[in-house]
Structure formats: structure tokens, C-alpha cells
């Protein structure tokens, strides 16, 4: 796993196929085929696209994950979240649109059950 450690600031786009952990600060777009963890003190000012995203710090930008997004209790996202699956812990802050791409049989069943 690659890492941008606490105290480091990076400006620019990041592309890659390896997991990335951010405990420092990134200003720019992240586009990874693997996963991204924004650690508790980490800050990202830009959009994130990855397979999986964990937000324990702050993201100001849109978060898109092909599989899953987890926003921890300490996490804050100011932007839209799009994911196949989404986990929001108690205390997490989101300000933006939330779109969950996956549609499950259980979801379809509950949609039908909600109608009179």
C-alpha cells in the first residue's frame, strides 16, 4: 500500500492500481483501480474514484467507488457519494447526493411491499 503520511501535502492528480492511504493532505483528483483510505487526519480536496473508499478524515469532492464506500464516525464528505454499497457510521457527516448503484432482490421486494 502506498501512503501520503501526516504532514505531507500533495498537489496534483494521482492514478494507479495500488491501495493508497492518505493521512496528509491532497489537492487534486484521485483515480485508482484499487482502494483509498483517507485516514482520520487526512484531507482530500478533489474527486476520488476507486474500487473501494474509506473516509475517516475529510473529503471535499465527489466520492465514487465501484464497490463500496465506508464513511467512519470521524469522516466528513462534502460532495456526492456514489457506490455499489455504502456504510455510514454514527456521527459521519455527508453533505451531498448519495447514490447507491446496486439493486438487490431484497430492495426490490421492499419497494413492492411499501406500496398499498
Amino acid at each position: 500500500m502506498s501512503a501520503i503520511s501526516k504532514g505531507l501535502k500533495f498537489k496534483g492528480e494521482i492514478h494507479g492500481s495500488e491501495d493508497l492511504r492518505i493521512d496528509g493532505s491532497v489537492e487534486g483528483r484521485l483515480n485508482l483501480t484499487a482502494g483509498v483510505v483517507v485516514g482520520p487526519g487526512g484531507q482530500v480536496m478533489g474527486d476520488i474514484e476507486a474500487r473501494e473508499v474509506v473516509v475517516e478524515g475529510t473529503v471535499r469532492g465527489n466520492v465514487t467507488a465501484r464497490e463500496r464506500v465506508r464513511i467512519a464516525a470521524s469522516g466528513r464528505v462534502e460532495g456526492d457519494v456514489t457506490a455499489g454499497r455504502l456504510a455510514v457510521e454514527e456521527g459521519a457527516q455527508i453533505s451531498g447526493r448519495v447514490q447507491i448503484a446496486a439493486s438487490t432482490p431484497a430492495a426490490a421486494a421492499s419497494r413492492i411491499a411499501s406500496r398499498p
Binding site: 455504502l86 455510514v88 457527516q93 447514490q99
Partner: protein, 224 residues
């Protein structure tokens, strides 16, 4: 290395994901007929869009995502708190004339709720109207009216007296709202009577009030 492997340090309990059973209640469960009516009255279009003006909660997101909704979360009270803090920081000397409340409200709404007209079919407003002064309350209702699609529905809660404790709200199931303690929440500054509530939503096609034994009135309004 598994990407979502549990960390060795203590962390909050994992929460349920979409289409999984919700986690156990941590607040007060409250039966809500208005919530059920809200869900049933939202226009049957595809896709349907919901605007939640409260905090982001897994159970609320899951409930509506499972029913095919697109969801937008805009924690308006938290945004207002930040806005007021920014205003105060700009006037650290305290010598400037207090800004006009109407102008402040316009400025606040100039940066919040920036969605195209008719974007939503349902709005969960919770008790935000109780926490704003009249100029902002009126402008907010007007903005929400514009954001609702024709036939769209808005659910709001109104206190019948100033509450001793502040709460956040989340959907547990079709007929249950869970009240979560929110000790740092903005105080209630308005206690509306029923006539004032009707006047507030005069532009809407209908306004139904649900009275309960506690101090919360539920109000369901439908856009023409």
C-alpha cells in the same frame, strides 16, 4: 491485505450496509403515521429523489435506497451553524452594524440547497423550521416548494413547546422514527401554533397535522 480489514485499535461498531438489517436502536423509537403517509404519497416516478435536511444516518439512507430513491443529504442546521460562525469571525471587532436578518437568510440560501427546480419528490425537513428565525423560515419554505416536483411531499416536525433536549431524527422503518440525542444541536427558537403552520405552508396544496401524545407535531404537506 484485505482493504476493509478491521483495525486493531478500538473503533466504532460497524454499521449495516444497504439491504442489510439496521443496527439496534440507540435512541427513542416513535411511532409515526405521518412517515408512513409520506412514503406512500411520494409520486410513483422512476427515479424518485429524496432530500434529507437532517444528519446522514445509515438507516434512513438504506430505507429509501432500498425503495429505489436517489438521496441527497443536506444537514441544514449544521450548515447554518457554520454560516453564523463565519459571519461572526468576519466581525471580530464587534463594531459593525448587525446584518439584516433577511439579507443573511438570502446569503445563506444563496449557497445552500443549490439544486435545479423540481429535483425532489420527497423532503424530510425534520424540525429545521423550529430552529430558524422568520425571514429564513419563510425563504426556506419557498425554496423547498421550488425544489419539489409537482405532487411532491414534505414531512416536518414542530415542537409544541421548547424542548429540554435536542434530537436528531432517523427513519427506522415505515412507521417508526428514531430520536437520537443531539446535545450540541441548535436550540428551538420558534414554537409555531397550528395557524402559523398552516400559514407557513399556504402555497402548498394540502397541509395535514398529526397530533401525538408527546410534544412533537408531524406535518405533511403536498405540493400542487
Amino acid at each position: 491485505m484485505p482493504f476493509f480489514r478491521k483495525r486493531p485499535t478500538p473503533s466504532p461498531a460497524p454499521v449495516a450496509e444497504t439491504a442489510s438489517p439496521p443496527s439496534g436502536p440507540t435512541g427513542i423509537l416513535r411511532k409515526s403515521t405521518a412517515l408512513k403517509d409520506f412514503v406512500l404519497k411520494i409520486p410513483e416516478v422512476d427515479p424518485r429523489a429524496l432530500l434529507d435536511l437532517g444528519r446522514a444516518f445509515q438507516t434512513t439512507i438504506t430505507f429509501f435506497a432500498d425503495r429505489g430513491f436517489r438521496i441527497a443529504v443536506q444537514p441544514l442546521l449544521e450548515s447554518w451553524r457554520q454560516f453564523v460562525e463565519e459571519q461572526q469571525a468576519q466581525n471580530t471587532s464587534g463594531t459593525e452594524t448587525p446584518p439584516d436578518p433577511g439579507a443573511l437568510a438570502q446569503q445563506f440560501l444563496g449557497r445552500e440547497l443549490q439544486f435545479p427546480p423540481g429535483s425532489f419528490h420527497g423532503v424530510l425537513a425534520w424540525d429545521v423550521f423550529d430552529c430558524f428565525e422568520p425571514p429564513l423560515t419563510d425563504l426556506l419554505v419557498e425554496r423547498l416548494h421550488g425544489l419539489l416536483a409537482p405532487g411532491g411531499v414534505l414531512l416536518a416536525l414542530f415542537h409544541s413547546e421548547r424542548p429540554a433536549q435536542r434530537w436528531s431524527y432517523r427513519v427506522r422503518d415505515m412507521e417508526t422514527i428514531e430520536l437520537i440525542p443531539n446535545p450540541g444541536g441548535l436550540p428551538v427558537v420558534n414554537v409555531f401554533n397550528n395557524r402559523q403552520i398552516l400559514n407557513l405552508f399556504a402555497r402548498f396544496r394540502s397541509c395535514t397535522t398529526y397530533i401525538a401524545r408527546d410534544q412533537l407535531r408531524e406535518v405533511l404537506v403536498v405540493r400542487e
